[in-house]
Amino acid sequence: MINLVWLVPLFPFLGFLITGLGRNKLGKSSGWIASLAILASFVVSVGIFFDVRSLAHGDLEHGGGSSVIVPLFDFINSGTMHIPFALQVDALSSVFLLVITGIGFLIHLYSISYMSHDDGFGKFFSYLNLFVFSMLLLVLGANYVIMFIGWEGVGLCSYLLIGFWYKNVDYTNAAKKAFIMNRIGDLGFLIGIFLLFSKFNTLDFKELQSIISTGNFSTAYITSVALCFFIGATGKSAQIPLFTWLPDAMAGPTPVSALIHAATMVTAGVYMIARSHFIYTLAPTAQLVILIVGLATALVAATIATQQNDIKKVLAYSTVSQLGFMFMALGSGAYVAAIFHVVTHAFFKALLFLGSGSVIHAMGGEQDIRKMGGLKPYMKITYLTFLIGCIAIAGIPPLSGFFSKDEILMSVFNYGAYGKAFWALGMLAALMTAFYMFRLFFVTFHGEFRGTEDQKHHLHESPALMTIPLVVLALLSAFGGMIGLPKLMGSPHLLEEFLEPVLERSLAANPMSNQLSQSSELLLMGLAVCIGVLGILMGWFYFKKYDAKKEVKGLLKMAQDKWYLDEIYDTLIVKPLFKGSAFKEKIVEKGFLDAAVNGVGKLVEVGSTKFRLLQNGMVGFYMFMMVLGIIVLFAMQIWLR
């Protein structure tokens, strides 16, 4: 099965071509074709998953150890640079394959119903398939270049899908902003690649890993590579300072927010760093930077999320905050916990976004939670599944979010001298998570209905094609934590066992290895549960009877206005760039460079007009000039002597 891995990206690519070329003729069937393509990829991915498992146990006779490289053709081969178009299958990529194709399939199904009234139905599915293709390439690439191809590909699809309703200028601005902010990160990623290539002449993961982990290189060099890659990750995974594009990206259709801006694409940065674990393990300074940035992002985004009134914006900031948690895990060296949180987050955040889509659908396009309320009796399935998602993200056992978040906080607690301070701040972010989620939950589903009469008549539960994915995702959110039960509970941590062959050395270097005593681990767990419950109670206390008219003031108002980050960037970067360029055009380009060129031309023209006058045809004047010349020459001769 592993040698057929090229089928996994091929199916969505064919789906893209078919639905793209036939978008005017296929009608509603394009949704099914696109979904089928993803389903086919999922089936192959499942097969690959089992192969990789037996591979790790040594059943297969592959020479490659725990990972298999499937070369397809030479992408770049110039003699000075050799980049094969090769795919790499190992535990890490196969986990991502399952998440991408599995959740991707559910979201495709959901979209068939959600997008059914849209003019661009066929176009939507062709973009969606192109996205899945790019994302699969990103996680399957055997070197940084193939990864980068996928990396840019998902960025392009994100751009196309955010600006899907292209008539709205705000939406296309959001799309443009997302692409450009990602490009800023990409420059960092690229410079990291240049640093690696100029030293090792290869960009292959396996080769680099064996060179770097056995050789002895200066910490400064390794740290700069690590930091450059992290800059790339801050763009794609929406971390400080490049996170402001993600909330704006909610301009896209809701299934897009669920698939791209919650479950898959935004976790690409986490994948990239986990894939480069052999670099980060040798760069503790970079790890500390990642930990701090992740923590700061988790906190800042959570504060903003508590004050948003757009249902999708709350979820978007929540995503940024949860991504911050994943980076905290990476920074503290807990790669498995980071991947674990990627998986569980994909379950419950996709669920929450699809649930919000169901709500928006019922409300006839309304996204402001101040105009909702009391939806519970009208949409039972959406209500229940959304509740499960909220409990999962709030970190209440035994739902999935608890286990992954707990593992992250535990490893942060263990991190060096400041670990406990970081842990305390992480707990604060966790508290806010539970609070803002249940604020959203109570304001949306409980209390009085605050919309118009028309909307009230229109309220209904979504069709089965939308609710089935909700139910499946709710089950996954509820029980997905089973793949990573804490050792404390006596059962094996399945995900860690599975990923171990890939991360081997880096796991050994992980501070987690100095285990806490059982009692303190239990204590931390208990505290985490208490924090989650406290957050829920606070949400219930403040928002069980919500008054939409109350205005927020002071600090809370600043949080609602996103701490004015967009305005700050605008003043510090965007405006100076445009003003400066306009100034340069006026002064340097037109006023100096072009004027100088024209000046030379003018000089010749004016000069020759004047010189021409010397030729006036009067012999006497010529004689006079000749004599004058002779005198000057004599004078010069005497002078120079």
Partner: protein, 479 residues
């Protein structure tokens, strides 16, 4: 024989076009350019199979100048440029099928003369012959841009001509200065290279700057670029395509063939200054591009930024950088030609070049929009388009430059990657997205011949982006 045909066929075609009645000019131009393309393709195949195509005859005996031209092993860049020239011309002609220029026979004969001159520039192995073709390529383009184009075309073209011609003359002086050192009278490339190797560094500085300025004006790099946005804006689109897709590559090509090997010490001594100018070119032109409202000027500045990166990569003195530049010189030619054709469609339909008056095309002309988006993505070097591979190699080469400033150069040039996204996406947004403007209602989708041309460019962009081996083999260097 093939070499002679490559130059002679467009030359004869041009002469015939001038003599025959105007009605015949268009079919003749198509036939001639397609024949050239076939000859070029045959030459390409023979070259890849290891054949050396060469012609070497006495030309001006008293000066020792020879008609020496051809494609030998290691001339991959020349093959690429030859192919680019052969590919671009027929597609320019096809795109003109339903809007013939006035005085068609003058137009087509001048175009074909330019093609002959360009072929000669890329094939010449004799410095004097090279110089002659350099001018032969320039003069028809001068007439073309002064006869066809916008209202300000006469002063603009005059500036363009005087500027580049002044550069050419400086180059001629430099050629003659080197020629003076020749033990036996010869303009041959081999003789020039051996003279250059023996020349002391102090003497090379002058020659280096004379030749570099000539080539820099042609490319153009900062601060020699001011003729270019005006010329691109005012010339008719077919002429702009010849200028931007092929002619500006003459400068880069000349650096690779006639500057670096001939003046090695001078080039090495001044490489940091040249790379600095090129990097300034990238950032400066990108900044100019983001504030343009005229679509043609925006693309002109975008082109300067791209050329700047190629120049920097060539002067990195790294094989990888030069290979990247070679790949990019070809691919940029394809992309920019496609982009200009899209722009000419925009200009014809909207009747303006001002992007503020456009908008909403995506709704009324979806096929056109797909073409515009794909070609624009190639312009910002998105992976799996043809723009990526060359740019990636160039940056890696630039980063490997043996210079204390290599990181600085790379990071600053890298800003161009970000800014390219800014201006290109803004262009797409202003043209295709948003509410439909007043003039958008009459915007019709692509006609059949436009569709054919667009599909060709889109396929080239995607195929070469996904499978660059077709180009890569030409510039392969044994590690």
């Amino acid at each position: 024989m093939l070499i002679v045909l490559l130059i002679l066929v467009p030359l004869i075609g041009g002469l015939l076009a001038m003599l025959l009645p105007a009605k015949m000019a268009y079919p003749l131009a198509i036939i001639t350019s397609v024949t050239s393309l076939i000859i070029a393709a045959v030459s390409y195949i023979q070259y890849t199979q290891g054949a050396e195509l060469i012609i070497d005859r006495t030309w001006i005996e008293i000066l020792g100048a020879r008609f020496h031209a051809g494609l030998e092993a290691g001339d991959g860049l020349a093959v690429l440029m030859m192919m680019l020239t052969a590919i671009v011309f027929p597609f320019i002609f096809i795109s003109l099928s339903n809007k013939q220029p006035e005085k068609a026979n003058t137009f087509y004969s001048l175009m074909l003369f330019a093609q002959a001159g360009l072929m000669g520039v890329f094939l010449a192995k004799d410095a004097l012959l090279f110089y002659v073709f350099w001018e032969v390529a320039l003069i028809p383009v001068y007439f073309l841009s002064s006869m066809y184009g916008g209202p300000r075309r006469i002063p603009v073209t005059f500036k363009f001509f005087v500027y580049t011609f002044a550069g050419s003359l400086i180059m001629l002086v430099a050629i003659l200065l080197i020629y003076r050192h020749a033990p036996i009278r010869s303009f041959s490339w081999d003789s020039f290279v051996s003279i250059g190797r023996a020349m002391p560094a102090s003497e090379q500085t002058w020659l280096f700057w004379m030749m570099f300025i000539a080539f820099a004006i042609k490319m153009p790099v900062f601060p020699f670029h001011t003729w270019q946005p005006d010329a691109y804006e005012q010339s008719a689109t077919p002429v702009t395509i010849v200028l931007s897709a092929i002619m500006v590559k003459m400068g880069l090509f000349a650096v690779v063939r006639w500057l670096l090997p001939v003046i090695p010490l001078g080039s090495a001594q001044w490489m940091n200054v040249v790379i600095m100018l090129s990097v300034i070119s990238v950032v400066y032109a990108s900044c100019m591009a983001i504030v343009q409202t005229n679509i043609k000027r925006m693309i002109a500045y975008s082109s300067i930024a791209h050329i700047g990166l190629m120049c920097a990569a060539i002067f990195s003195h790294q094989i990888l950088g030069m290979q990247g530049a070679a790949i990019q010189m070809f691919n940029h030619g394809i992309t920019i030609a496609g982009l200009w054709i899209m722009v000419s469609i925009i200009e014809n339909r909207f009747g303006t070049q001002d992007m503020r008056e456009m908008g909403g095309v995506a709704k009324v002309a979806p096929l056109f929009t797909i073409g515009l988006v794909v070609i624009s993505l190639a312009n910002i070097a998105l992976p799996l388009t043809n723009g990526f591979i060359g740019e990636f190699m160039m940056f890696n080469g630039l980063f490997k430059t043996v210079s204390p400033y290599h990181t600085l150069f790379t990071v600053f040039a890298g800003l161009g990657i970000i800014l390219a996204a800014v201006y290109t996406l803004s262009m797409i947004q202003k043209v295709a997205y948003g509410p439909e403007g007043v003039k958008t209602a009459s915007f019709t989708d692509l006609t059949m011949n436009e569709l054919v041309v667009m599909i060709f460019f889109v396929l080239m962009i995607l195929v070469l982006g996904f499978y660059p081996k077709l180009l890569m083999d030409l510039i392969y260097v044994q590690p």
